[in-house]
């Protein structure tokens, strides 16, 4: 898939996210939109996976530790054929295949049940240790949020990854600078990230998290780093792609109304709404 096709995929995913959240009447637009290029690059360019065999033992694993970005993941999984697209419109509804946050039992293609922040990196370490024990070559990808690094367990896990030299693990930090209550610097201030992760024994890349070229390059380079885990600090914009959501913490956990969704969709180039 070339760069233009990736960009078009990202646009389509953003359209799905807006439509899903408007229909669900709840959910998290800001952090779903900031992570679009990251997750699109992983699923369309980097990861080995098979929509027809979601439990393939040799697949790369994906752990969305910032589970509230589930709509982005669900859109991508449906576009790749893990499940039918019509399920997207029942997100968060009783009896749906798609829980508010990822759940392995209900949804094909979900490797880890997440949503309570701070827990996914430990799970990813477990997957990475297992791969090492079995001498398998699959890789583990984990996406964490910047606000999520307030959780102590992230740093417990960061020590574990380095201690066991988990070079088959690559974490992407969606650095959109905002959490629910405001700017990350104003809440707990987890900065500086680069120095912290380096001090914890990680190999660090720092890139533009909306650039497919930079994401792809860092994810490929991370495969060559041996003896320690890699983290890609991906600078992103919360609410990316929808002008009135960009950089606004209030769009962390508020869904668009139908009217707002229609404006957003027009901005994204869906003049007649998304194709259901």
């Amino acid at each position: 898939m070339d760069n233009d096709e990736l960009k078009e995929t990202a646009r389509l995913v953003r359209g799905d996210v807006i439509e899903m959240l408007a229909r669900a009447g709840s959910g998290h637009p800001g952090g779903s939109l900031s992570a679009v290029e990251i997750i699109v690059t992983l699923y369309y360019k980097v990861m080995h996976h098979n929509p027809h065999n979601p439990h393939d033992d040799n697949r790369d694993r994906f752990i969305l530790s910032k589970g509230h970005a589930a709509p982005t993941l669900y859109s991508i999984l449906s576009r790749l054929g893990y499940f039918d697209r019509t399920h997207l419109w029942s997100l968060r509804k009783c009896g749906s295949l798609l829980q508010g946050h990822p759940y392995t039992f209900d949804t094909p293609g979900i490797d880890a049940s997440t949503g309570s922040l701070g827990q996914g990196l430990s799970f990813a370490n477990g997957c990475a240790l297992s791969a090492k024990l079995d001498k398998r070559s699959y890789r583990i990808y984990c996406v964490i949020g910047d606000g999520e690094t307030n959780e102590g367990q992230i740093w417990e896990a960061a020590m574990t990854s380095a201690r066991y030299r988990l070079d088959n693990l690559c974490t992407v930090l969606d650095f959109n600078e905002l959490q629910i209550d405001g700017r990350i610097q104003d809440i707990k201030n987890p900065l500086p990230f680069r120095e912290k992760w380096e001090a914890f024994g990680w190999n660090v890349f720092e890139i533009d998290g909306h650039s497919f070229e930079e994401l792809n390059q860092a994810l490929e380079q991370a495969k060559e780093i041996k003896g320690r885990p890699s983290i890609i600090i991906a600078h992103t914009v919360k609410g990316k792609g929808v002008s009135f959501m960009e950089g606004k913490p209030e769009w962390h956990g508020t869904p668009p109304t139908r009217e707002e969704a229609d404006i957003a969709l027009r901005e994204l180039g869906f003049v007649d709404g998304v194709t259901l």
């Binding site: 049940s113 827990q119 430990s122 997957c127 990475a128 240790l129 297992s130 417990e156 020590m159 574990t160």
Partner: protein, 315 residues
């Protein structure tokens, strides 16, 4: 006098036995391997043992990731930290997706002793019982511990197995025919029933024997599997009209309440709960603490006598 044997050693020996047969068995600990005895597994299979350091939440998450990749994971630390510190990780990362993580929590109850309240888990059964998909086991001796470690290995899904710090009298012979879901009836009688678990089973048996000498026939059930609880055994106990439960745990939310729930819905009768009564204990030897906090053979004996008198007066 029964021989006394360590449940923790039985656990570690069984891990090694299983580890020899099963490559997919992994053991995690949180810097307490000497105390939980998982160090014995570490010495035998160093490549399949991971010390996660003093980070119980991280240990449970890592265990979940390993289990999701096809491993059967035994994760050990003290009961207070396994249940309390890491409760949400156990709930969301392990129990919700039904992963095969076997939490073997040592140092359960106030029988931990001199370390004091900070290390005495008297609420762990209560908080673990509230979580769906997990089986809760409190073995009463080393033989039963071995049985349930085997059982946990071969049964898919999460387990919480609570072991004691003190070594306990051996109740069951090596070849005892356990049923994992059934209470073990250790003594029969028609006048009342004691339902106990873990460290309190042996004193319950002694109390029942003392009552027997006075002509009072008491059933004694070892309810090692607290979740799911053996409802049939509870009803059988309730039919005597007098049930005393007994556990080294708070009287809130533990074995007593698990039994009480069944009694209330299936065969109402008088029930009295022996345990730690909504308070914290303190530092001290188990011998002193059990006297002070009412976890003795004598206390069980009195509780049953009082219950028999109370019911006779009321009816």
């Amino acid at each position: 006098m029964n021989k006394v044997s360590s449940l923790r050693s039985a656990y570690a020996e069984t891990l090694i036995e299983l580890g020899k047969k099963h490559e997919n068995l992994i053991v995690l600990d949180a810097d307490l391997a000497m105390s939980t005895k998982t160090v014995l597994f570490k010495n035998t299979f160093p490549e399949r043992f991971f010390d996660m350091g003093i980070s119980e939440a991280d240990m449970m998450g890592t265990a979940a990731g390993l289990a999701s990749s096809g491993k059967i994971v035994f994760a050990s630390t003290f009961a207070l930290f396994a249940s309390g510190r890491a409760w949400e990780q156990v709930r969301s990362a392990i129990c919700y997706p039904k992963l095969s993580v076997k939490i073997v929590a040592t140092h359960g109850g106030i029988s931990v002793g001199p370390d004091g309240v900070s290390h005495q888990a008297a609420e762990d059964i209560a908080i673990m019982r509230a979580v769906p998909n997990i089986r809760i086991i409190v073995p009463s001796d080393a033989t039963q511990t071995r049985f349930f470690i085997h059982e946990a290995y071969k049964t898919p899904g999460p387990f919480y197995i609570r072991l004691t710090r003190p070594a306990l009298p051996v109740i069951y012979e090596d070849r005892y025919n356990f049923n994992p879901l059934s209470a073990n009836k250790l003594k029969d009688g028609e006048d009342g029933a004691i339902i106990a678990c873990g460290i309190m089973v042996f004193p319950s048996l002694k109390a029942a024997e003392k009552l027997q000498k006075e002509g009072i026939g008491i059933k004694v059930f070892d309810m090692s599997c607290i979740k799911p609880v053996d409802r049939k055994a509870v009803v059988e106990a309730a039919k005597t009209g007098h049930v005393v439960t007994c556990e080294d745990h708070s009287t809130i939310g533990g074995l007593g309440d698990a039994v009480g729930d069944v009694i209330l819905s299936e065969h109402p009768c008088y029930i009295s709960k022996v345990g730690l009564s909504d308070r914290f204990a303190e530092s001290g030897s188990w011998n002193k603490l059990k006297e002070k906090y009412g976890l003795t053979e004598e206390r069980i004996y009195k509780e049953m006598k009082n219950l028999l008198i109370k019911v006779r007066q009321k009816t």
